[in-house]
Structures are given as C-alpha cells and as structure tokens.
Symmetry: C4
Subunit: 253 residues, 4 copies
C-alpha cells in the first residue's frame, strides 16, 4: 500500500464541481452535514482513500463484511450543481499524515476540475446555542462578500486558534494551488453532536450553491438527541420544568 | 536492518495453508489460541519477523540468551490441513508501522500460497461471559454462511468500532490482495486474560478446518486464573460463597 | 508540499545581516522580543516557511482570510545594521521535524550571508524576578567576552538542562556550519508571559548591534499584564497592600 | 544533517577493543559505570554521534559554550585491553530512532574491529539492595559460562520484560552481525541513582577484561547520595536510629 492510496471507484464527468468536506470534528457538524448531503441527494461513490496514517483498522458493515478503513468521496448532483463530497470517520493521526492526506484530497478535487473547496465544520461556543450562526473564513478575500450574502458571519481573526485538521489544510494547501477555499463553521456548544448546527451550515450551502435538500431526517436526529439530553437531565434530578442550563450539558458528550 | 525484516528459518512445502494470526489483544484471546496451536501441534518455526516499528528490545530465554524482539510464523500440521500460525508478544506501535508489518505478514502468507487468512481475537463484552459465543467478520460475503455453519455468530455492524490492529489490517489489506480473510472473535469480559474464550475460538477453528487439538493445558490455565480471581475476591472480603460479580472483576487485570 | 517549504516573498540585498530568532518558549520572552523588533522597526517579510511538521492548521487574519500555518522571516533595518528576524506561533512537534526546520532556517540565514545567529529566549527562575538579568551561551568561545561587555551574564553549565527546541538547534546546527551563534536568555519566573524580560533581552541586543528601539508598547503590555495579576490577587483575597508572592504567581499562567 | 551523523574526532589504532555501552537507564547504573571508566582511565574521544532522533537541544559546558546534543565514544586503555566506551545523556525517543542509532553504534564497533559488545545497565528489584548481584544475558550461549566465572548470575528468562532500549538493541542487532554481546545488569532498587550498583558492575568487568580501576570517586558519590537520603529521612521524622526502609526510599528519586 502506498502512503496514501486513492482508489478510483467511478470516474463520472462532472461540471466544475464544488469539493465539500465533512470529516469528524467539533460537534461532528461537518460530518453530519456532509453525510446528509450524500444520503439525501443519493451520491455516487467515486473515490475511496486509504492511508498508512489512518487508524489501522477495518470497518464492519451490516452484513459483517469488513473493509479497510477509508474516507470516501461521493459525486452528488445538487439540483444541477455537481458536488464532490468527502466523508469519513476519522482524520490522520499525526501532522505529517494530515498534510499528506490533505494533498491527496486536493489531487482528487483537481482531477475533477473542482472550482472551489468548501470545508464544513463546527465553531465551539462553550455554551448552549440558541441561534445557529454560521461563521466563515476564506482564502480569497473576494469570496467574503459573496458568503456574507448567503448569511455567513465573518469575525476578525476568528476562530482565534485558527482552523485545525483537514478543514484547515484544505484551505491552506488549496490556496497554494489557486483553488479558492472557504470554511463554513456552524456555532455549536462543543459538548454534543449537533444536527441543528449541521442544518444551519447546510442552509448556507443551499443558498450559496442554489439547491434544495430535505432536512426531515436531520431534524429527527436532533429531536432524538434532545430527548436523550432531557432524559439525562431528569435522571440528574432536574425535572422537566428545569430549563436546560449550560452546566448540565457540560457533563454529556 | 530494513524497516521490516523477514528472516527465513525454514521453507517447507505446504499445501494451500491457512494463515492464522494471534497477536496480543483483547483478553489475549487470539494470542492464547494461536500459541496453543503451535504448542499442542508442535509447529515448526519458518519465519522470524523483526521491525524498526516493534519495541526496541531483546527477549531473554531460559538459558539467558537474548534475541532481538520478533514475531514468528510457525508451520503447523493440523491433521493434514497445513497452517501458518503468526504469534508474538507485541504489535507495531504506530499506524504507519502497523500497516507496514501487516503487509509483510501478508507477503509471507502469499509466499506459501495461503488460501485464506483467519485472524483470532477477543470481543469485549464488559461483563462476565457465561456462554462463550464466537462472533465473526469476513471480507468475502460468501464466507459468512460457511462460518455460520461452524457456529460463528454474525451481527450487523459489530464490533461497532471496527476491528483494530493487526487482525483488522490482515482483513482489510488481505482483501485488497484477493486473499479472503475472516476474523473470529471470542466474547470475553475484556478485564482478564481469557483461556476459555480462546478455547471457544479454537473449537470453531477445529470445525472449520477439520482437525482436533487437546485442550487440557488451556483448561488448566483457565482454572489457575479462576483460582487467582477467587483468592483475590476472598481477600476483598467477599468470601467463597459470594458469586463473582461483574464489579469485582473490573479491578483485576 | 515539501517536508519543509521555504517561500520567497522578497529578496532584498542585505549587508551581513544578523539572524535573530524568537519563537514561542519560556515566558514567550524570545517571541515578544523578536515581534517587537519587527513591529517597531517595520520589518519587511522576506520568507514564509511551511512544514509538514508544523501543526496542521491555518491562521485566520483580521479580514477572515485563512492562510497556511507558517513561521516568517522579516528583514529589519536596525539603524543601519541589517537583521533577519524569525517569528512565529509554534515550533515543530517532534525531534526529527525540529531538526529539519532548523536546518531550513539556517539555509535562509546562509542565503543572505548572515554573519551571526542570535537566538532569543527566557531562562526560568521559578520565582519572581526583580532584576532582569540576561544569561547567555555561545558556540564560539571568543564571543563570550564580547557579550559580557554588553551586560550578558555567563554561568558555568547553565542552563543545566541545555537549551531546547529551535533556539538550541540554531546554536548546535549553526556551529556545524561555521555560523557563530549565541543565545540570550532573559530571566523570567516561567509562570507568566514576560514583556519586561523581553525588554531586558532587547536592551542587550541594542548594545550588541548598536541600534535603538522604542519600548513604549512593550512597557504598556507589561503594565496591562501586571494589572491582570493584581486583579487576580485581589480576587484571591490578597488585597492591594499584599506584596505579590511567589506562591500566588504559581497559579496563573 | 543526516538521520544519524557520526563525526570522527580521532581514529586511533585499537587492538580488538571491547565496545562498552552505558547510556541512561535504570538507576543510571550503566551510565555511572561507563562514565567512571572514561574518567578514571582518561579516555580519548574518538566519535561524536548526533541524530535527528535525539532530543532537539544543545548542552552548555563550563565555559557557557553550547554544542549539539550528542552521545560520545571514547577509546580507553584498560591495562592493555582496549575499550570503546559509549556514553551520553539520552537515548533516541522513538522505536525507529532507537533502531537506527543502535545500528550506527554497531557500525562504530565494527569500524574498530571490536571483538565483543558489553552493555552495562541496572536490574530493578523494587526494594533496597543489600548485596549487589550482577545479573547477565548473552547472545552467544558459550559466553554464559565465561561470565559466570567472573561472578555474573544468570537467571532463566530474566529480566522478564526483556532488555529494552540501546542495551537491548546492541545485543539483538549485534548478534545479527555476528558480534557477540552481553549485558551486565547491576541489581538496584530502581528508585535512586545507584553508584554502588555501578561499582558492582565494574568489578565484574575488571575480572572479565583483566584491568583495575580506582573506585574512590564512585564511593564518594555513593556516600554523598546516602547522606542525602539520610537527611531526607530525618526530615520525614524518622531519626537516625531508624533503619532505612523500603517504603521511605520509594518517595525519593
């Protein structure tokens, strides 16, 4: 196996696709959003990417069939706008590996003549989020106004610690290849998997790329999670009348 | 020394051997089972495998003779069915190393024209196991029915976290070489070395490969361990009449 | 991307520059000092250095524009003495990476025919510093007397644990290239970011290289930090009349 | 710099030297013993070995002169028996690095036609040592009897966890080059630096290689350390009449 091994599963003709990334991260916002796109819009698997820098493991499917850990790229037709959507269950574990797999992701983006990278993720607030603002960062200053038009908020020098992991590198390394890139980060407490934040991010993406996706399954998932939180709070003696407080949430996750 | 260094000790003619792996892992189930095969069926050492990714150390034998840390492959004649059995005291410490040594193990399997990989391991249940079920995963969907016939239970998407380490990679990387592979995992609490679970795994293997092996020494080992647990529980004030509880076991390991 | 990637932003003619390093470390003394030089003396960016060994991330600027994590080298005109000043927010994370980026830094120093390396840093004392002594180490024994003339104190075999990280390697690897190198370490408690220690280090550098820099902004920063410490102590019930004690400081930082 | 960089400082003619290793480890027994040889027998520096796998740092000497972290090999004339003695303040930090520097050490041993490797170290007992037994392991079974004649004790399969780090690899990798190797381990509590254990190891070495070395400075160091322990115990309320107990020692070192 090569250090990074990109397996071609299909090679469809795509028209200036947008490369969308959603690997695990804060609140799993990016992962939830990207997987929702692939499921609702019935994406077709085009690439499977393995790496020695990924965890040494196989995943086991519904039929107990094991296959080597991989992240996957799906071709998605979003109302006429082609997307390439990168989804998976892990990121590389070390800085060198992170750089090398990110370059491989960009190679895939370029192989399909992608016109733009959009990395999806979460922005931790440390407290319960009432309104799901989506904050952004771009590599091409001209893109900022465009995304503001779609409802993205830009805040000077935020996130303060920069954007880490694959999302960050797709921006940083993408810019070096003249592939414009943006990161859309849904605000989220940071303590829980957050389908509502994922929905907020997707709503921006809908406006930006002019397509529609159904949110019913994401809303169901949000309600299930909220039910779990409510039950947990009741067990903690809170009772249903107690408004959920920041402190309660901190213990779950 | 090369990154992975496979030393040929012997090169017997084997007839479509099955490559069986049992390195340390959950409950040391795989290791106990594989070592039992080598000892009871008097395996012959055929390969010694060193790697820069293994712990930097020597092992010291009964005669105080030190030799470089290695995992070993033995040729075992199981009532006419040739086996290659991989045993050892450690796995590589980092993801890149794990991938590289797993590829080397598969090279050995292929050098002997192995027809199949069977990785042995444990499946942690988190509680005392009363009946030793063996759960499985396969790389070739057709193999599932075969192993079900030998008493293996297949459960959708289990183990949930996938199969990690050498066992997982032998399946994942083996499949990429068209070497069919299965993992047989004996249920075990996960808190103790578990010879009874190893026996359950070997009983499946006996049926699958049509051979017999004596379990007396494995049973002795199980009884010794159970005696240690009983003594420990008595020291903890439990008394012999107390049925061993899940909670007690959690403190031993 | 290469393992270390040095991007040329400008290539001015410099006259035997002194290469000054100030990356994060004890009390951020070196970083504060080097950044102060670049800001006050209006340095021009000449090199941006990326590496796979740096954290996988982008930094986000005031305009929400993201760019790949980098350390930077600025050309600074210090009253006629050319400086190359290395600043940044991180060091490489592993020993191999540390060595490789340090060699790249030295390549930049040599490309501009630097005559000398001066690494800036902090020397932790473990207690509140009243007088900001600057201690030194050199690679060329003849340099010791010169720096003593500028007020640097040399103490046998100190710091006891050696000088670690980029500062250490610039000395050690620089000497191997016949590039004389010195490390100037401002004494600092080690518990707080210490602009006063940075000022002490810069005062030595002024005398050594015969230039002047305004310290107003560094003093403002020191006062702001001292105000924060005072407020913290009052909250802890100490009151303003309490002289700040070593013990109090230990809890901040 | 190369991954491992062996600098030739001198290239004396040596007559079938014995390569002796004493890097930091249990009780610093090997390091104390090897350094004692170099100091008492006035060794001459012949090789300085740097590596990217060593900690990124410089050491600072009595004159405040910094030099790149290195381990060193000294030529020592032990009453006519040539020795090459490897000393230093650290080992490589990762398994791959450990293997690569150990191979470089063996290259040096072979470049001088060394006839044998003797690695010095400590064997932790977990309790106060009254009689300083030296236990051994060899790579050539025939060497066992020879070392028994010099007072070394051989115990089946001990140390149980094998011999780790540079000492272990010099044996394991040395044997693969047909360089016979032995490890001499002085029993030591494992809680304190132990000059008395180092002396015990050197007494074996004296007999094995037929030379004499003065132990006064090692005994002084042992007494100083014992004085520190005594003072510590008095502070703990023990009083001088209290025999030092295993429990007391556990808290020091």
């Amino acid at each position: 196996m090569d250090e990074v091994d990109v397996v071609t599963v299909a090679d469809p003709d795509l028209d200036e696709p947008v490369f969308v990334e959603g690997l695990p991260g804060v609140g799993h916002v990016g992962k939830l959003a990207a997987e929702h796109l692939v499921e609702e819009l019935e994406g077709d698997l085009v690439r499977r990417i393995h790496s020695e820098h990924f965890p040494p493991q196989v995943t086991v499917d519904d039929d107990s069939v094991a296959s080597l850990a991989a992240v996957e790229v799906y071709a998605v037709d979003a109302d006429g706008q082609d997307l390439l959507v990168l989804v998976g269950d892990f990121q590389a574990g070390d800085p060198v590996g992170q750089h090398r797999v990110a370059e491989a992701f960009l190679d895939v983006a370029e192989a399909f003549d992608s016109r733009e990278i959009i990395a999806l993720g979460g922005a931790p607030t440390g407290e319960i989020v009432e309104e799901y603002t989506v904050v952004g960062a771009v590599t091409d200053p001209d893109d900022r106004e465009r995304f503001e038009g779609f409802g993205v908020e830009f805040r000077a020098s935020e996130p303060a610690g920069g954007i880490v992991g694959t999302s960050g590198l797709l921006l940083g390394l993408g810019a070096r290849r003249d592939l414009p890139a943006a990161c859309l980060m849904g605000e989220t407490s940071g303590y829980l998997v957050d389908p509502r934040s994922a929905k907020a991010v997707l709503e921006v993406l809908q406006r930006a790329l002019d397509f529609e996706v159904d949110f019913a399954s994401l809303e169901d998932r949000a309600e299930e999670l909220e039910e779990v939180v409510r039950e947990f709070q009741e067990q903690q003696g809170g009772g249903v009348e107690t408004a959920p407080g920041d402190e309660d949430l901190r213990y779950i996750g």
